[in-house]
């Protein structure tokens, strides 16, 4: 009797398992799922894991890296092609250590070296949210990397050099708000993935953290409290407004940052944004280790640049460099313009870019493209001029720097 009952129960369990119906009683977890949804916004997971025009979190999106292209994976709860079969422990291990359930290393294009800072309960909330999504059957694509990088085992070396796993440890000397900001910036925000300089192997140069870095073909500005090149002159309100609405009186989010605002930061609470701003404002300023920032002294270049500015730029940015409030950002005192790496500036002038569209600021004013109209030398003179005028003090830009950016744009378009 017992044996028959047991084998019947076993049969039921197998049938139920095969049909994909849960064999375990489920809890109602609305609060945790919503918390996870918020954290997924903070982590901007969709920026990689949702393809353009693709189903949410089903992967497939090409993520360019300096070493080749990696295709983001399917993180919907599909059991065959997504992460539906992963346990809580396996998911935590992926986020914390960068390892798959089968032991394979994840490439650090997935920022596990930032997400390692997350508390376990936050990781579980994220999993609860991902588990609640519609499963999508879509197999992952193999990465496009040259050997030996195509061998995931190579990440052992990378991790040894650049990865220190560990959840964030609050600093008792700082306020809870500061610690919350640090937790978000150093964790889910993974701001340093773009905004910190990286070495040839793609590891963050930790002594220059947040001093600006390359990301997706753009130079992401310094987030330190440097008064010229960083956020030193920005108030907390400025920073919150920028992250929440995509623009403030000083700047508009363009390029990849426009996407970050739209997909991530505009969804965060003002309290969290303020905490992040507080943490960033506390970062040490640049020590000048970023190379020469002495303004260009070539008078001829400055004069040529000035004429170009009056002809091409003053119509929007105004002759006094003040721009138009809430419409066109000022040239005067712009921290972005002081970037020690002018490649974003060259890119903006060459190819233009739309700015972030948010519900608060839907208009998305765009910078027009001048690449077809102005030569590399002209753009270099123009940038040199604006970086040395209107009270700005930043280094000259060369024609070859502009040419390099132009080539990069042509290659990717």
């Amino acid at each position: 009797m017992h044996a028959r009952f047991k084998s019947l129960a076993l049969m039921v369990a197998i049938c139920v398992g095969a049909c994909g119906v849960a064999a375990v009683a489920r809890d109602s977890n609305f609060a945790e799922v919503q918390r996870g949804r918020y954290l997924v916004y903070a982590g901007d997971c969709g920026a990689c894991h949702t393809d353009e025009g693709g189903k949410p979190f089903a992967g497939g999106r090409a993520v360019p890296t300096p070493f080749g292209t990696i295709y983001a994976s399917n993180i919907t709860p599909d059991r065959e092609t997504g992460i539906g079969s992963w346990t809580d422990e396996q998911f935590y291990h992926a986020m914390h250590e960068g390892r798959r359930p089968n032991g394979e290393h994840l490439y650090p294009a997935f920022p596990y070296h930032w997400y390692t800072r997350l508390r376990r309960d936050d990781v579980m909330a994220i999993k609860a949210y991902l588990d609640s999504l519609t499963p999508v059957r879509q197999a992952n694509k193999a990465p496009d990397l040259p050997w030996p990088l195509s061998w995931r085992g190579a990440m052992v070396g990378w991790n040894a050099l650049f990865f220190k796993p560990g959840a964030y440890r609050p600093d008792p000397a700082k306020s809870p708000e500061w610690n919350r900001g640090a937790y978000l910036v150093e964790g889910l925000g993974h701001c340093g993935a773009c905004h910190s300089p990286k070495n040839a192997l793609g590891g963050v140069k930790s002594k220059d953290r947040f001093h600006g870095g390359q990301g997706e073909g753009w130079f992401a500005t310094s987030l330190t409290r440097d008064p010229r090149e960083g956020l030193g002159r920005w108030s907390l309100d400025d920073m919150v407004e920028y992250l929440k609405t995509g623009a403030n009186a000083r700047a508009r989010a363009m390029g990849p940052m426009a996407e970050v605002v739209h997909d991530s930061t505009m969804h965060l609470s003002e309290d969290d944004l303020r905490a992040m701003a507080m943490y960033l404002k506390d970062l040490p300023g640049d020590s000048g280790s970023n190379g020469s920032q002495t303004p260009g002294h070539d008078r001829d270049a400055l004069q040529r640049g000035k004429l170009l500015y009056v002809d091409q730029c003053a119509g929007c940015h105004m002759e006094d460099g003040e721009g138009i409030r809430n419409v066109f950002p000022p040239i005067k005192g712009s921290s972005g313009l002081h970037a020690h790496d002018p490649s974003s500036l060259a890119r903006l002038v060459l190819a233009g870019a739309p700015s972030a569209r948010t519900p608060a600021k839907p208009e998305g004013f765009a910078m027009p493209a001048f690449g077809a109209k102005l030569s590399d030398a002209q753009i270099a003179d123009l940038l040199t001029y604006i970086r040395a005028s209107f009270g700005n003090e930043a280094g000259a830009v060369s024609a070859s720097q502009v040419a390099g950016v132009r080539k990069k744009i042509e290659r990717t378009s």
């Binding site: 091409q312 929007c316 138009i324 419409v327 739309p354 208009e363 493209a369 109209k373």
Partner: protein, 587 residues
Amino acid sequence: MATRLPAVDVVLVGFGWTASILAKELTDAGLEVLALERGVFRDTIPDFSPATIQDELRYAVRNGLFEEPHRETLTFRNKMQQTALPMRHLGSFRPAAGAGGAGVHWNGQTWRFLATDFALRSHLTERYGAKFIPTDMTIQDWGVSYDELEPYYDKFEHLCGIAGKAGNVGGARQAGGNPFEAPRKREYPLPPLKRSYATVMFDKAARDVGYHPFPCPAANTSQPFKNLYGVQMGQCTFCGYCEWFGCGNYSKASPQACVFPVLLGRDNFTLRTQCNVTRVNLDSTNKRATGVTYIDVTGRSYEQPADLVILCAYAQHNVHLLLLSGIGTPYDPVANSGVVGRNYAYQITSSVHVFTNERLNPFMGAGALGQGVDDFNGDNFDHGPHGFVGGGYLALWTTGGRPILQHQVPAGTPKWGSQFKRALAENYLHAASISTHGSVMSYRDAYLDLDPTYRDYYGNPLLRLTFDYHDNEHRMSDFLTAKATEIAKAMRPRSVDPKPRNGHYSILPYQTTHNTGGAVMGTDPKTSVVNRYLQSWDVPNVFVMGACAFPQNAGYNPTGTVGALTFWAADAIRNRYLKDPGPLVGA
């Protein structure tokens, strides 16, 4: 064989001002809205980029943003006895094709009509007697009053950020504004644009001869402006490339600058471009539209079902579509029966060239930067002694000094050669022009119908335009030209060269893109195509927007009134039609 598509709640034909406003209003109401535009998509950047838009050859001479006659044109004749021939090049008027429509390339001159304009026949009869109106003049009342439209004018002005100075707020005269304007509830959204020197001179001269000049209302922002829909606009920098060009710094009102940012991303809104609607489809009763048929750029036909069809194409294109689709009885000018195509009107304009002693800066301009005089518009003056009806404003506009088309030389200058070049150089910084912008009444013999001979690219009969100026319009226009000449002389110039509008209406030289009528609104289905809510009398689930609704044309640019009527119709659709679909007015 047309491919049948999934149904939508509302299909809009065309995607200019009226469609953009309706799409926003109806998606706000939760409806699934589809707009079909025959032209290409355009947005401020890159299409109107300040880096490339100031190209007069490309846009003003080679018609970069306009409709191509190869795809849509009409045949034209002055009189019924003549044979109409196709207009193969744009001339007298320049409709657009492309997202934003003519709202992209207009100047931005934005007016309210006078209260008397809306009840023209009643008013003229009351003041001058029925005999004062010629028997072949088919003017009529609109069926809607200025007072009813006032809040909707206000909405359109706050959508665009109109810069101006009110002359009449709630019946109280305001110094500095137009004393003749119909009463408004509040000031304009923005203060007037900065004056150009020529407009300052005109202002003084007009006062000296006893008239009442004021800054013309402009859809070129005088300051940054957050509009009715929460969209931020920039500030005009007087680049002088307004009419014919798109605005690259978000300061000329257009669907792109004012509506697109809050419309295009909506889940319940879809735009399909390069889709040309050729028919509104009707069911077997011919009293209900089932949707539209359109052809895409590959030549493939589609049937798009919809519950509500709204014609938002250019004025005469809407009339063409009504005729091709068999909605409403076509107008027969001989039998004087039918309504579709009836009461076509236009604008009669003239100018007075002024050559000043003082130096001007003509290259600093904006499309609606002007000083105007309304003393001789509408019925603002006693017409008794003159024996004509109608009027118009006089204005000195400084819209720019572009090298190819915007320069003038004194009368008698040869048209080419070294003397021409010398005169051009000597006069460029001393040239201004006063325009007269006169009304055109409707007549029995001015109308639209289908051409018997010529067909378009898709094999449909072309629209045929029969139109000429009547004696009434010539006398009125000559009267305005004389007044303008009087003001010009009071500017104490070195010379004045009046250019009256003489002879027959010619379709060749550019005049205005203010084509009106053909699908007029009214209270009587025997003399109107749509009711006072712009709803078709014959097919209640078809509405027709645009200046085709005007029973006759007033002495002002039409866009302000087109915008007001669109908001008025949107209100009627949202708050009355959707709750109870059917005729909004008992016939």
